[in-house]
Symmetry: C2
Amino acid sequence: MQVGAPATDKGQKSRRELMAIAIDCFARFGFQGSSVDRIARMAGVTKGAIYYHFRDKEDLLAAAVADRIEEFEARVQRACEGADPLQALRSIAEVCADHAISNDRPRFIITLMVEAIETNEEISTQLRDMMRRFRAFVRNWIKQGQEAGTIRGDRDARSVAAGYVSWILGAEIQLYQDPEHFDFRSALSVFLDQLTADLGANVTRAEDPRTRAGRRTEEGADKAP
Amino acid sequence: MQVGAPATDKGQKSRRELMAIAIDCFARFGFQGSSVDRIARMAGVTKGAIYYHFRDKEDLLAAAVADRIEEFEARVQRACEGADPLQALRSIAEVCADHAISNDRPRFIITLMVEAIETNEEISTQLRDMMRRFRAFVRNWIKQGQEAGTIRGDRDARSVAAGYVSWILGAEIQLYQDPEHFDFRSALSVFLDQLTADLGANVTRAEDPRTRAGRRTEEGADKAP
């Protein structure tokens, strides 16, 4: 689904509007606290209007979650286009930081992720799979760097990826919990310095210039191993 | 409150039992989904029995949260007794891992932490303050190591501590979300190797044994600005 696509179909537009309102409702009242009744009231429509588009509350939330996941994954992937592995690891984290700092929507996903673990199997599965894909995506960048010789080969890529995603998730929660005291930007900057120093250490083989041939990143700061 | 203390006062014992049941209820149904009615039913008591000990649901949950926080902080502090700073950073993380892997209670706190951000000011404040103390505790260990010359001085202690706590929080959530695919132990081991390699690098001065003499580690948490 494309955010900027023209809404030629009135039914589709309403569906998207209802998803946006459901997200706001959920973000304020949690999953248990968001009834179809409450969402309908917030949207200024009848419950019937919601049931026209969605089977039930779970279906509505699952659709909203799928939409958010899709948008997030597209942003992360765009940020990495043409990057080398260490630069990609920086870019992914920076996209997550921008996302977390700039609006309330990520908070919805994070809250739901934690709350749904016990309470909603379908949504929990969606979010669990998103996190698996996220870890795999990071892991693949690390493996690419290891194969290219720009990331040390003696770090287990799976564990580094798991830790990288842990860092981002835990930092987002602390930012939401304590925006005045938790300095996400400073912490992120130090984390990325630590990570790239560690992964770039003990590299035995300089990157083959031919490997870089097709790349389009020209940000000089991050080229050093 | 001490877990092993003899229950000489029947009223106090009931109070503790009700808190334990409230925690289980909350862990299963979330904050919004845990009414006094439901907690009373799970406990096999009347609502009146709950109101004898607690003003309302918020009061009961706040007491249960305070109890969990106290136990967690005592465990973390015990684990650091007599440790040097880098060892303390390992020990704190290992306590958190044991805590997360061995039982369901930490999940209650993590779920509540995220859910309460928007929905319950009192509990949200308790948990926010716990996280502030946790970050300050870690930060103080890093500063002690920097002063003793065993941790590099060019890393901002506040940012490193923020990242350390982020890692633990995010890893716990992923463990709860996906226990079969998220290998907490392996990820932790690599994280601690990366962290201690980074913090121990560029150290110019060996630790002075006299610096260790007067330490009283248990008071560290609240002294930081």
